[in-house]
């Protein structure tokens, strides 16, 4: 069997590598470079702080699978640093009482999957986790201890390496312009230069841009909202800042990365991004800077080195889109991962690969089908 995967982000590379492991002949095509899009602009945290029980379960499953991936990269592919970092606390900050009530509702979801959640005062946060925090700046916080930091690029590029060891192929800057279809099947993907790539199965894993592919194929799948996001990184400092900080009300997340830089992202600016713009913007930087300095006043002196824009694919029910197309029998969708592609992508990709390669339906993925209401 030959599978053509469109997209080389977290999801595309994960599905491809899982398929290659099953002895499937895989080719990845990406319109840009490997990992372009939300993947290379993410904070690369495996977070259990999800809004739905099913997602928390998948996040926990992803961590276990990623540990195994880390081991394989070090042992089989001779990839010295691996991809996996340390377990870290995740502090969700509520600035107001109302924010706190919303967070408490989410925490019930985390608890229902057995996650240990601590409800702490600003003073306790300062004493136990973050000596830099201004304890008068926020109302309360909820802390979980099951998150992991990872390296983004080794994660996707490492997977490509493992996939290639099993005979998979990858092509950058190959945008698919059209498809050859007939008899309820896709026969081939047509590139800009007229080159045609045929396959038995086509997998759409193009993140937000999957919307354009579904449109090209005139397939009425569940719509997604493409929103503006972005982030920044600072100069490196000694690695002391272990926790991940989330401010849900501002769509904001900050941590010190495994490269020792501070990196923060806004995962939803509340603005649509129909043109898939990745330009940096002052507005975004102002939001990140304001929230950061409010929480950590001394961070006002840290230098910003680089800022970027991004786009994310949100679904209205907050669940991803995973499953076979009804219009074309050999087309599989896997996208719409909101802001948690990194957190749950590994587990979903592994399950999807089983569906694609073995033709079995995974009951757990039934709620994520592309045509749900």
């Amino acid at each position: 069997m030959k599978v053509l995967v469109i997209g080389s982000g977290t999801i595309g590379t994960s599905v491809s590598q899982e398929l290659a492991d099953k002895g499937v002949d895989v080719e990845i095509y990406d319109a840009k470079y490997l990992g372009y899009g939300a993947t290379s602009r993410s904070l690369s945290v495996f977070s259990v702080q999800q809004r739905d029980r099913r997602l928390v379960k998948l996040a926990l499953e992803s961590v276990e699978l990623a540990k195994e991936l880390d081991r394989r990269l070090k042992e089989e592919a001779n990839f010295p640093i691996g991809i996996f970092g340390e377990r870290c606390p995740h502090v969700s900050v509520a600035f107001t009482e109302r924010d706190y009530e919303i967070l408490r509702d989410y925490s019930e979801v985390w608890r229902s999957e057995g996650i240990d959640v601590k409800d702490v005062s600003p003073g306790e946060v300062k004493e136990e986790l973050l000596p830099w925090v201004d304890e008068n700046s926020f109302y309360r916080a909820l802390v979980t201890y099951d998150d992991y930091k990872a390296f983004t690029f080794p994660f996707t590029l490492g997977r490509v390496g493992l996939m290639r060891m099993k005979g998979g192929k990858v092509y950058k800057y190959r945008e698919i312009k059209d498809f050859d279809t007939g008899g309820g099947r896709i026969k081939a993907a047509v590139m800009e230069d007229g080159h045609k790539a045929d396959a038995d199965v086509f997998v759409v894993a193009g993140g937000a841009k999957s919307r354009e592919i579904a449109k090209k194929l005139d397939d009425p799948v569940k719509p997604i909202r493409v929103t503006t996001a972005g982030g920044f990184c600072t100069e490196p400092y000694k690695y002391l800042f272990k926790p991940v900080i989330t401010v849900e009300s501002k769509g904001y997340r900050l941590t010190q990365t495994l490269r020792n830089e501070f990196a923060a992202v806004v995962y939803d600016m509340g603005i649509d991004n129909p043109s898939y713009d990745i330009e940096e913007s002052l507005r975004l930087l102002e939001r990140i800077a304001t929230v950061t300095v409010k929480l950590f006043p001394s961070f006002a002196y840290i230098n910003v080195l680089r800022q970027w824009g991004a786009y994310l694919d949100y679904t209205d029910d907050g669940l991803p889109i995973v499953g076979w197309s009804r219009k074309y029998e050999n087309l599989y969708y896997i996208y719409g991962f909101n802001n948690y592609g990194f957190s749950i992508g590994t587990a979903v990709a592994a399950r999807a690969a089983v569906e694609i390669a073995d033709g079995r339906r995974d009951q757990f993925l039934e709620d994520f089908r592309p045509y749900r209401e």
């Binding site: 470079y33 390496g161 080195l305 800022q307």
Partner: protein, 107 residues
């Protein structure tokens, strides 16, 4: 003929990487991604060049030169388009506090 010893030229001052380190990273990239998957962005990610304090202001041209030279050794011709690199703001490192507003409501 004995192997020519590489001059220990520093390419990336921020992260202290020599020419030899960069060439090593280049070959690691080719091993992992193959020629079809490799590009200047992946080279930056494997070598960490252009990602330090200077953000490529000091090392980008040198990185591009190594990339082109090594690709040429593999019989791959690189067009200038493939060396595109997106320079991001701020152009110089800027303290975070400059961008911070007084009230959270403003952002």
């Amino acid at each position: 003929m004995s192997e020519k010893k590489l001059h220990p030229a520093i390419i990336c001052r921020c992260l202290d990487r020599t020419q030899e380190d960069m060439i090593g990273a280049f070959h690691m990239m080719i091993d992992f991604l193959g020629i079809d998957g490799a590009d200047i962005n992946a080279f930056r990610r494997f070598s960490w060049g252009t990602t330090g304090f200077c953000q490529g202001r000091g090392c980008l041209a040198l990185m591009q030169r190594i990339y082109v030279n090594e690709m040429r050794k593999l019989d791959v011709r690189i067009s200038p388009d493939e060396l595109k690199y997106k320079a991001r703001s701020p152009a110089q490192p800027v303290p975070l506090g400059i961008f911070a507003k007084n009230n959270l409501e403003e952002v």
